[in-house]
Structures are given as C-alpha cells and as structure tokens.
C-alpha cells in the first residue's frame, strides 16, 4: 500500500529530503508538515525529492511551498515528475481565495429590509406592466381567429383543467366534510344542527369552492407555467421565438391565460359541488339529516346569488395566477437554481394575491349587500 509522504531536514542548512507518496490522500498531513518546515527554509535551501514515491498536482503544490515556488530548487529522479512540478509551478501557487461571507451586521439587515421592499415594489410594477402586455396582446389577436393558437390552448386546458379535476374534487370534498363536522359540533350546542346545511352551502358557494380551487391551481398550474417558460428562457428558446418574428406573449402567454380562464370556472363549479357533497355526506351520516332534507333545505335557504358571488371571482383569480406564473417564468436567468427560486416565488405570490383579492372581495360584496 502507499506510504505517507514525509519531509525532513537532516542537518541545518542541508537539503529538505522528501520521501513517500505526496498525493491527495495524505494532503492534510503534508500541509501541516510543510507549514512547520517552511520556517526553517532558507533562501537557497534545496529540496531533494529523488526518493519520492508517487506525486500528484496537490502534492507538487505543497512541495513547491518548501522550495519557495522555484521548481529549479527541487531535485527529482525522473522526467515525468520534473514536468509535473514545472506545470504546477507555472499554474502558480495561488493564495487561498477570499470567502464569500456576507456582512450580517445591523446596517446589513436594514439594507436587506430596504432591498426587500424595493423588490416588492418592482414586482408589483412589473406585474401591472405585464398585465397590460397581456391585455394588449388579447385585443390585438381577438379579432384574428387565424392567430388563435387553438392546439396549444386546448392542450393547456387539458393539463390545467381536466387533469386537475380529481384532486380539486377530492380536496373540496374533504374540506366540505370538515366544515360540516365543525358546524355540527358548534351548532348542536344551540340546538341548531340543521343550520349546518347553510354553513356548508354559503361557505362553499361564496368562498371555499373558488378559494381552494385557486390555491390548487396556483400550486399545480402556476408553478408549471413558471417552470416551462423559465427553462425555455434559460435555454434561449424565448430569444429564438423572437428572432423568428413571433411575439413570446402571443405564443406562450396567451394560450396559458385563456386555458386557465376556461378551466378555472369549471374547476370552481366542481369544487363547489364536491364541497357541498362532502358536507352532505357528514350531515347524512352523523346528523340524521336525510339527503332529501339536505337538498330541500339548501334549496329553500340558499339563493343563486351566492353562487354568482363565488363564480365571479374565478376568472379574476385565473387571470392573476396565469399572469404571475408566466411573468416569473420570464424573469428566470441562466441557471437551474433560478428556475427553482422563481417557481417558488410564483406560487407564493399567486396564493398571496388570491387571498388578498378574496378578502377585498368579501368586504366589497358585504358592503353592497350581496
């Protein structure tokens, strides 16, 4: 097996004798050794490496330390070693690199807050500008059926709508059941268990159906938009689209926006129904409300305006999720890491915007007594 590299000075002023293997496996030991020997190296100390075992670039780099970076001061046995040492010397024994540590002081954290705020403002401006771009592309193409990208649009409807149906339905069903359980438990105290029906109906028609769907779509399709457009951006495909005389917003963004505008209302409808069915299931199984009673009660107490309040938000959410997803995709630069961070940012922004708009809409609808 290999013998650990060694070096020693036999007599004062004499040469440093290096022996053993000067290779990467032993480099920790060799580095310490060189550090201690360096203090005893004079201006003309030679290094006798004739009895050296194996040597590689790492070993040669440290051997050169002993010879004050001068390959001529190292005596070697064979030509190959001489060449290796010469090559390493030419490459230069570089000093250790400065570390890229960040300043973590108070001023730096204030600066970070400032940078974050500025980033938020820039994001908002960029999003509003991008929405403008989409709207202008929409008006430019609306009357030219030849420019409608039907194949692409329908493919996106399939991916974002049809393929999302099962998971949206399941999610809403489960949340519907949970809401009914909560309602039943609390309302039983007042002897008003029957009001569980209204609770489930109102909450799913007005809020939960569209909100849960939007969150699902943001996580599922918004992120996919960012990743798709982002990796195209990273591979210069967006630039290629431009040089072919096409408009990336027309080619990539319009089909996705229109697809979500079609899918979201359908998914929302399914979400509302699944939530109400989930609630009904709990009512039937634990509250002794028969299915017929549930439907009758729902029919009597819930007017269709609740449905429209919920449904009116679906296209708005769809538009915003698609716009944010595509915009984040266009912001991607070069690396794979950038695709990842923008995908995350796309989902976080979409969900934030959806909940914010939903809250504002709730106040709005309340104020106008809808």
């Amino acid at each position: 097996m290999s013998e650990t590299g060694n070096a020693s000075i036999a007599e004062s002023g004499g040469p440093i004798v290096a022996s053993g293997d000067w290779t990467l496996e032993h480099i920790g030991h060799l580095a310490a050794l060189c550090e201690s020997l360096k203090r005893r190296v004079g201006a003309d100390t030679r290094v006798d490496a004739a009895r050296l075992g194996r040597i590689d670039t790492a070993g040669a780099s440290f051997l050169l330390d002993l010879a004050d970076k001068d390959p001529a001061r190292i005596d070697v046995a064979d030509d190959a070693t001489r060449k290796l040492i010469a090559a390493v010397a030419r490459a230069g024994n570089a000093p250790a690199a400065k570390s890229r540590r960040k300043d973590a002081g108070f001023l730096a954290s204030v600066a970070n807050i400032g940078a974050a705020l500025e980033g938020f403002w820039d994001n908002t401006v960029a999003l509003i500008g991008f929405i403008g771009l989409i709207l202008s592309a929409f008006s430019r193409n609306a009357l030219l059926p030849r420019r409608w990208r039907m194949t692409s649009t329908i493919s996106h409807i399939e991916q974002t709508g049809l393929n999302a149906l099962p998971i949206v339905a399941l999610l809403c069903f489960l949340v519907g059941a949970v809401v009914a359980f909560l309602g039943a438990t609390v309302l039983k105290e007042f002897g008003a268990s029957l009001f569980t029906v209204e609770l489930v109906g109102y909450s799913f028609l007005r809020e939960f159906g569209v909100l849960l769907t939007a969150i699902m779509v943001a996580g599922r399709s918004g992120s996919a938009f960012t990743a798709q457009i982002g990796s195209m951006k990273a591979r210069e495909e967006i630039d290629a689209i431009r040089t072919l005389g096409l408009e990336p917003v027309d080619v990539l963004v319009m089909p996705r926006v229109i697809a979500l505008l079609v899918s979201m209302p359908i998914l929302t409808l399914v979400g509302m129904l699944a939530g109400i069915i989930g609630g009904a299931a709990v009512c039937v199984l634990t509250l002794d409300i028969s299915p017929l009673m549930f439907v009758t009660r729902l029919h009597e107490t819930t007017t269709v305006r609740h449905f429209w309040v919920g449904m009116s938000k679906a296209p708005i959410f769809a538009f915003l999720i698609a716009a944010i997803g595509c915009l984040e995709g266009f912001k991607v630069s070069g690396s794979a890491e950038s695709v990842g961070s923008h995908t995350t940012s796309s989902v976080v922004q979409s969900i934030f915007v959806v909940i914010l708009i939903d809250a504002l809409a709730a106040i709005f609808f309340m104020e106008i007594n809808l």
Binding site: T23, L24, E25, I27, G28, A31, D56, T57, A58, S61, A80, K83, L84, A86, A87, V88, A91, G92, N93, A94, P95, A96, A97, S99, R100, S333, G334, S335, A336, E337
Partner: protein
Amino acid sequence: MSAADPVIRIRGLRNQFGDQVVHENLDLDVQRGEIIGVVGGSGSGKSVLLRSIIGLGHPAAGSIRLFGEEVTTMSEARRTLVERRCGVLFQNGALFSSLTVAENVSVALTEHHDLDTSIVNRLALLKIALAGLPLDAADKFPSQLSGGMVKRAALARSLALDPDILFLDEPTAGLDPIGAAAFDQLILTLRDSLGLTVFLITHDLDTLYTICDRVAVLAQKRILVADSLDVVETFDEAWIRQYFQGPRGRAASRAVNLPFAPPPAGR
C-alpha cells in the same frame, strides 16, 4: 497489472436500445499515457461508448476492463474507487449551475477527502489555473462564463481528483479556432506533465492531427480501425475515405504536414 497492459480494454461490447443495436462486437484497447481520438459519424454511438466505459450506461453484452478491473460486474464500492481515477468532461460542460467555478471544482475534493477549507480552496484554484482560466473566474457562476471558459472550468473540475484517465466528449466543439487550438495544446501539456491517458471524442480534424497519438474509427457498430493517423487515413473504407479525403480532412492534413508533404493525391 503491469505497465504494458492497456488501461482500457473492451472486448465484444454490445449496446442496444430496444431493437436498435448501437454497438456489436466492439473491441478497443487504450494504452497508458496515450491520447486516443475516437471519430465516427453523428449517431454512430461515440458518446454511448464513453458512457459504457465510465459506467453510466449498461451494455447488453461484452467486457470492459478499466485498470484491469471488469466494469460491467463491479460492486458499487469498487466502482466509486475506479470512478475517482477517471475525469470526465461532458459535451456541454455539465457544470453545476448553482455553484461557482471554484465550488464546482471543490465538490469532489470535499466529498471524498477530509480537508481544511483553506487546502480545498488552494487546490481548486490550482486546478483552475492548470486548466488555463484566469483566477477571477473562480468566483463566477457558469452562466456568467463564455463557451470556451465553460469548457476550461469543466476541465478543471474533471482534474479535481488527479485522475489517471481523462475522458473528453467533444472538448473543442463550439470553440473558435484559436480557442480550440489553445485547448488542444492544453490537453497535450496536461498529458505530458500529469502523465494522463486521454480518451477523446471529437469531430475536430485539427485536434486529431495535432494531438492524437492514435485514432479509432467507430463505424458499422464497431471500431473499424484504431491506429496512427497515417494508417487510418489510408484504410480502405468508404466512410473513412470520405472523412479524411474530404476538403476539411485534406486541409487539416496539409496544415500539419506542411511544408514536407506533397499536395494530397487524387482529383
């Protein structure tokens, strides 16, 4: 193994994807310290051959010996040890895009050896300098580098563990002629000074003529001929004739043989 044994020894290699047979009965020996250039038409399976040798592909049949050890049946632990003796430069560099150049080079050093950060940094910078990159490239990300610098950074990473064999997949593709010539010289220098064996896939005829000791021609699913250029050039096969006697081949040959060689015969 003795010094005379081939470093890579391939016998009866067969690679196939579904019904499509890429290699059939392929034999090849690579000797220690030589630079062997592998040429072949697009889709002839050069990269597949490389991937088989370094253990990334799974051949359907045949034997591949690296440093005298059978790669195809090797245990995972042995394979890791053998892989550390191989440096690979992928066609597009395959640098980790979220790491700087210096970090790219350091990955293998920190993973395989228990070293101080200062030593790792120092060795990484040494490899970067050996690969001919300026030191200020060390803190850049791959997306900030030009094509030629990406190749050099990838070369620095492949040299990180001081490999015995260097596998290069089209190292000069996409470089300008000056950059490509410099890269050729760099490989030659590294081979001479570090004693590397170089397995080189290339379409670049200038590379073949200036640095390769032997050239292996991959055609008809096997290595037709693997020999010095004078032998390969005159080998009687349609594809090889076209390759070396075509306008580009003649120009590259003239450039190397000037002013001693007479103008190529024919025409």
